[in-house]
């Protein structure tokens, strides 16, 4: 995977040059945002299970999807849904820390639409759940860090769409 630091080092090395000007400014900005990122990742990691419960309550729980014939029925599929939402949250948190979305492309989105298609997992409710997750996460971590998480949760949404 790439992160925001290696993303500037690799092309600089191709040219044999030091990092300078705009590249160092980008790193400076990233370093300065580090405390915000680490704090948000800490909060999300500590409360992940409750973030997921609240996300489901806000988006899926009271719909047909949890009833017989729905894709979160029976319990085995309900649990699989929780697992996948937890993956989304965890990888979005990684990407937020790295300030780089490539880990989402490589480890989450690659082939996901096709997998969901073959398993019959409906895309629309999945997207609704991620939208709800954005709100829940922002409530927990605050507006600034929430905005940063939105970037990566939106990246998952657009990869699924």
């Amino acid at each position: 995977m790439q992160d925001t630091i290696t993303a500037v080092i690799n092309p600089a090395d191709e040219k044999g040059s030091y990092l300078e000007g705009a590249e160092l400014e980008a790193l400076q900005k990233y370093f300065q945002s580090g405390t915000l990122r680490v704090k948000a990742a800490t909060q999300i990691g500590e409360t992940a299970a409750s973030i997921i419960s609240e996300t489901v309550a806000k988006s899926l729980l009271y719909g047909d999807i949890t009833c017989p014939g729905g894709n979160m029925y029976p319990t085995r599929r309900y649990a699989a849904c929780l697992r996948d939402l937890t993956y989304f949250l965890r990888y979005a948190t990684y990407a937020m820390l790295a300030a780089d979305a490539s880990i989402l492309d490589e480890r989450v989105l690659n082939g996901l639409r096709e997998t969901y298609g073959s398993l019959g997992v409906p895309i629309e409710p999945t997207i609704q759940a991620i939208q709800a997750m954005k709100d829940v996460v922002t409530q927990r971590v605050g507006a600034d860090a929430g905005q940063e998480m939105d970037v990566y949760l939106d990246h998952i949404i657009s990869g699924l769409s």
């Binding site: 990092l19 300065q32 580090g34 405390t35 990122r37 990742a41 990684y94």
Partner: protein, 157 residues
């Protein structure tokens, strides 16, 4: 791969969010970001000086070596490599780990210099001299961030 990518890969391997030890490590890394940037800037600005002065000190201790053989082409090539190593150290300071040095400058390095007929013991001494001069251009905080990578470089030779 930076320190950030490394702890993420570790956590992902174990299927978990980052541990509090890993988060603390990242916090420390971000916390001295400004020092990392100034160290990298100084290494860039002083590369020529570090190489020139480092070579003088090296030749004083080890006069019989390819870079001091009277062939200007050889001298230029050796000093160019030395400059590259300083650049790789600057990448490491910014990345927070030794991966850039290892991937770009250490993997295969022995085979290359053996094939070129450059004695590794001489290079080791040359790298020590580079480190000495480089440390003189950095503040103690900056030096503390860069020294481990110079040390790893010296050990590798």
């Amino acid at each position: 791969m930076s320190i950030v990518a490394k702890v993420i890969a570790q956590s992902d391997e174990a299927n978990r969010f980052l541990s509090s030890a890993e988060l603390t490590k990242l916090q420390d890394f971000f916390g001295n970001g400004t020092t990392r940037i100034s160290a990298a800037q100084k290494l860039a600005a002083n590369e020529q000086k570090i190489v020139d002065e480092g070579s003088k000190r090296f030749w004083a201790k080890c006069p019989n070596t390819p870079s001091n053989s009277g062939n200007p082409q050889k001298t230029a090539l050796c000093q160019r490599d030395q400059g590259w190593y300083i650049r790789l150290v600057s990448y490491c300071v910014l990345a927070g780990n030794a991966k850039p040095l290892e991937d770009i400058g250490l993997d295969g390095m022995r085979d290359m210099y053996v094939s070129l007929g450059v004695p590794l013991t001489n290079l080791k001494l040359a790298m020590r001299c580079l480190k000495e001069v480089a440390m003189g251009t950095l503040s103690s905080e900056e030096g503390a961030l860069a020294a481990p990578y110079f040390d790893q470089l010296i050990r590798a030779f």
